[in-house]
């Protein structure tokens, strides 16, 4: 969160984000037409010191037989110099490969070179084909090159390509088509205000946009606006809360560990008191005793230090392997010299602090008395107040950490287990890349898709197949489209919903739950009937009582815009975890710009990308699978952040409770050691072992209860404080009642453990100090 990005003048690097408005109301977020990006690029010299265009995409490598899907970035040459690219071999893009140069060249990432090209040394003589274009490979980025993850954590470019070949086909490069994932990026001049530049750009680009769309009815009242967003803000977006919570959790754990080590050190000092007494008698001053304690701590610290470094390295590798798609900048995380020095300094500081705390607790006068005593009197070395305070602190910190962790854990588990209200078992969602067919006629595309669907049904592993434009669980590789319904043909009063074009099988294959109405029929599809199925949320949006069956609305994107569509069915809202269900509308149509397939495998059979590619090739070789993932997998990805939270919070709970158990046990065991003779007396006059255990438990309860009350106070205060901020913590019943119960059980268990050696043998042994 704090470390500057590894680029020159990183604080001046910005991305231009655009939104579309209709009559001042946000219409389309984070997208703008292709010509606007080009205009911005041409005009950028007026505002930026350096600038570039970038288009983030995914595409199928057609020069490989298994058509791997790779993350591509179409860039103008300045982009890679803005992010200080370094190369393993070859070179970066030059001006000859820049805007409008039409020179198809590619740079591959180090990992792509390793994985797709087996690290071949002659890779620079090779080409890589996307669509119908062969790109000459001119370079391989360095292993240590850190790409800014502007499209979210874990999204790393595998192939950089010349901007001119970006995936927007010519017919989608008009002023009326809004594209996502294309941006102007630039470095603002030193001392210039981003807000001022933002305003100037918006004024210029909006005037150009308004000029170009003038007279088009569907763009009436349309405008565009821009925001300059700092690279660091984009990279950290959505992750600040997670990082903050992780950091807070680690900090509390550190505090518990500190209290814990102090406890252990004090208990150790108590064990050593006789030795210390002898040293004191022989003339040792407090400083001598301090040195002695410090030496011992340092000796313990040395192997622990190396062990903890190994654990830290392991944890970093584990995080990078499993959570790089969830947390930003993990690829920059490693143990550096400065972090090593910091850890060493912290460890030394803690060693001195612990030695000081322990030696301050040593009462030299009492140590001398100890030597003169018969040995039966233990002479309290570490005050009861300190012991109680240590237990209280430990209990308070543990309760806070466990409570917060349990709140998050329960919320995460609830999200993971939440029924989504559609089938996920045996279903596969398939993204298609239609190559040159993207520019073919609507009827040709439709014919191809229907033929592919029929062909797929001949495969023995496929039970059912359906065509759609979207899935209930979308990924960042899927563009979702919103559209509008209106009661009037002029769309004065319009309502927005997520649009999914579907065939007659889609909703049944999904297992959508019907509230009212009917399914789409083959006739609906054949005639592209003016029928619409919507979900409950959209029904309520259209009419508060949701009773919109058989009502008619105009659909904004329809070719038959003048004819109203009839609501023929209402389905129950999907129930995606952690998300409020959005209004959805389903239209019977299979002429789809970005087609997708929903496949249902026969029980216990798996559908592979190769199977689907082979079948589609027999219809049209241009169709390739971009991505095939199971609906279960998609659901797992959807709850990946929850799964990570669940694992992290569970580990935090376990660590906190384990540390607390060790710490509390250390103090209790020391306390019992001090009270050993008293316990012996009690047992001699008839106290049963159970009585002794209950006595110890009761005596320990006071600091524990105080710790629990303090924790409750802190937690309530924290909740009240957080209510004033944008941070929110989930509140669950488990998170409130379980931590105190666990702490009480922990106290009972540690009480039993600490007193077990007393109550498990005859009283005589205790009185004799055995």
């Amino acid at each position: 969160m704090i470390k500057p990005l590894p680029y020159v003048d990183q604080e001046r690097l910005y991305l231009l984000r655009g939104d579309a408005y209709t009559n001042g109301q946000l219409d389309l977020a984070n997208m703008y037409p292709y010509p606007v990006a080009v205009e911005a690029y041409k005009k950028a010299g007026d505002y930026f010191e350096e600038f570039a265009l970038v288009y983030f995409a995914t595409d199928v490598v057609r020069s490989f037989t298994d058509s791997p899907l790779v993350a591509t970035s179409y860039v103008t040459p300045e982009y890679l110099s803005l992010v200080n690219v370094s190369m393993t071999m070859g070179r970066s893009f030059t001006k000859d490969e820049g805007f409008d140069a039409h020179n198809p060249v590619a740079i591959i990432s180090y990992d792509t070179w390793q994985q797709l090209f087996n690290a071949r040394a002659d890779v620079l003589n090779e080409t890589i084909r996307f669509g119908e274009i062969e790109f000459s490979i001119i370079g391989v980025t360095a292993k240590d090159f850190i790409e800014p993850q502007l499209m979210g954590p874990g999204r790393l470019t595998q192939v950089w390509l010349s901007w001119d070949y970006n995936l927007s086909p010519p017919r989608y490069r008009g002023w009326g088509t809004f594209n996502i994932n294309q941006y102007l990026v630039g470095k603002i001049p030193s001392g210039q205000s981003a807000a001022k530049i933002e305003q100037s750009i918006t004024t210029y680009l909006n005037s150009r946009f308004v000029e170009e769309i003038a007279g088009r009815a569907s763009f009436e009242g349309g405008s565009i606006g821009f925001k300059l967003v700092r690279f660091s803000d984009i990279i950290l977006v959505n992750s600040k809360t997670a990082i903050f919570l992780l950091f807070a959790g680690a900090l509390v754990l550190l505090l518990i560990a500190c209290a814990n080590i102090t406890n252990l050190m004090l208990a150790r000092a108590a064990n050593q008191q006789r030795g210390m007494a002898i040293k004191a008698v022989l003339g040792a001053k407090r400083s001598h005793l301090f040195s002695s304690v410090l030496c011992e701590i340092l000796l313990l610290l040395l192997p622990t230090f190396f062990l903890s470094l190994m654990v830290a390295q392991g944890a970093i590798e584990l995080l990078q392997a499993y959570t790089s798609h969830l947390l930003p900048r993990l690829n920059e995380l490693y143990i550096t010299t400065s972090s090593l020095l910091f850890a060493t300094a912290s460890a030394l500081f803690l060693a001195f602090a612990f030695a000081a705390i322990v030696s301050r607790q040593i009462n030299c006068a009492r140590l001398n008395l100890l030597l003169q005593s018969s040995g039966k009197s233990t002479g309290i070395q570490i005050s009861g107040r300190v012991r109680q305070l240590l237990i209280m602190m430990q209990v308070m910190l543990t309760t806070i950490l466990v409570s917060v962790s349990l709140h998050i854990l329960q919320q995460s588990i609830s999200n993971i287990n939440q029924p989504v209200r559609f089938f996920t078992k045996n279903l596969y969602q398939v993204l298609l890349n239609n190559g040159t067919q993207a520019d073919s006629s609507v009827s040709e595309q439709k014919g191809n898709l229907l033929a592919i669907r029929e062909k797929l049904l001949t495969h023995p592993q496929i039970e059912r197949a359906s065509i759609a434009s979207d899935f209930p669980i979308t990924s960042d590789k899927i563009i979702s489209w919103f559209s509008y319904l209106s009661v009037d043909p002029d769309f004065v009063d319009q309502r927005q919903a997520l649009l999914t074009l579907v065939d007659e099988y889609y909703l049944d294959m999904l297992g959508a739950e019907w509230v009212r109405g009917r399914r789409f029929t083959p006739e609906d599809l054949q005639t592209e009937a003016t029928a619409i199925i919507i979900n409950q949320s959209f029904a309520r949006l259209l009419q508060p009582d949701g009773d919109v069956m058989h009502k008619r609305y105009y659909w904004l994107n329809s070719d038959k815009r003048q004819f109203p569509y009839e609501i023929v069915g209402i389905i129950r809202d999907f129930n995606l975890p952690g998300r409020t269900e959005i209004p959805r509308m389903f239209v019977p149509q299979t002429s789809i710009r970005f087609p997708r397939l929903l496949l249902q495998a026969k029980p216990n059979l798996i559908i592979s990308k190769r199977n689907v590619n082979e079948l589609m090739a027999s219809v049209n070789s241009q169709y390739k699978v971009s991505e095939l993932r199971s609906m279960n997998g998609a659901h797992k990805e959807l709850v990946a952040r929850d799964s990570l939270s669940a694992v992290v919070t569970f580990v935090l709970c376990l660590l906190a409770l384990s540390l607390a158990a060790i710490g509390i046990y250390a103090v209790l065991s020391y306390t019992v050691q001090l009270r050993q003779f008293e316990m012996g007396i009690r047992m001699a006059i008839g106290a049963t072992p159970l009585r002794i255990l209950l006595q110890i438990f009761k005596d320990n309860l006071k600091p524990v209860i105080l710790g629990l009350l303090s924790a409750a106070f802190v937690l309530i205060a924290m909740n009240l404080l957080l209510a004033q901020t944008k941070f929110t913590l989930p509140s669950t019943s488990l998170g409130w009642w379980l931590p105190p119960l666990l702490i009480l059980c922990l106290t009972a268990a540690t009480s039993l453990l600490s007193v077990w050696h007393l109550i498990s043998k005859p009283a005589n042994h205790i009185l004799r100090g055995e």
Partner: protein
């Protein structure tokens, strides 16, 4: 036989370590009757304290049988031993063994609070007050033990031993930590208790106090070498 308070038959106690076995007691046979005042004497390491521990169920014998008021107590769990100790036996230690954190009153009340059958607070107060009066310490009920002299602390220890109305009072070097004046006073009190019917068994090094008992046991190397009624010895001398 009705007056037999405790009986030991062939009691042995062996302390075992990894390296060696120590035979602390070897075949002890002992009968103590109601109203007896038995003193146990012998050199250091002869097994006096071990015998007292076994008598008080603070430890269990390695072999042999032990009966208290006719009940076999040779093989008890720690909880069962604690209950019998609580109801049948009172302890008086050399170092008083009062709990510093508790008041004199609470120290004395402790055995009653450990009773299996709950004793009411009124009853506890009545019996503690009686015992405090017996040892003439009623005016110190709310004091802490460390505010009292050694002699006073031992008197409190006697009161605590008496409060449960035990069948047997076990006394371990009661005067060891006291000066002669306080020691004499404590012994006088014990004699007085015995005269009132309390059964006493006392370990002591001091022959003067050992002679105050009605029976004297001599221990050597874990065996009783002589057990004779003092009264018989006295009559023989006459």
């Amino acid at each position: 036989m009705q007056n037999l308070t405790l009986q030991m038959k062939g009691i042995t106690k062996v302390y075992a370590t990894d390296e060696m076995y120590t035979h602390a007691l070897r075949g002890i046979d002992l009968d103590i009757y109601k109203g007896d005042f038995v003193s146990i004497c012998g050199p250091s390491g002869c097994g006096k304290s071990t015998l007292l521990s076994l008598l008080g169920l603070l430890d269990m014998p390695t072999s042999g049988q032990y009966f208290i008021e006719g009940k076999d107590v040779s093989r008890l769990t720690l909880s069962e031993a604690a209950s019998i100790r609580n109801e049948k036996i009172g302890f008086i230690f050399q170092s008083f063994n009062l709990i510093d954190e508790l008041s004199v009153f609470e120290n004395i009340a402790l055995p009653l609070r450990y009773r299996q059958q709950k004793v009411s607070e009124i009853e506890i107060k009545k019996r503690v007050t009686e015992c405090l009066q017996i040892v003439d310490m009623a005016h110190r009920a709310q004091h802490k033990p460390n505010q009292l002299s050694g002699g006073q602390q031992q008197r409190i220890a006697i009161a605590r031993a008496l409060v449960g109305n035990p069948a047997l009072l076990l006394v371990d070097e009661p005067t060891g930590n006291l000066d002669s004046r306080n020691g004499d006073a404590v012994m006088e009190m014990l004699q007085h208790l015995n005269a009132q019917g309390t059964t006493l068994c006392m370990v002591t090094h001091d022959p003067r106090y050992a002679d105050m008992a009605t029976r004297k046991l001599h221990l050597l190397d874990g065996q009783i070498i002589d057990a004779q009624h003092i009264s018989e010895m006295v009559s023989e001398q006459i």
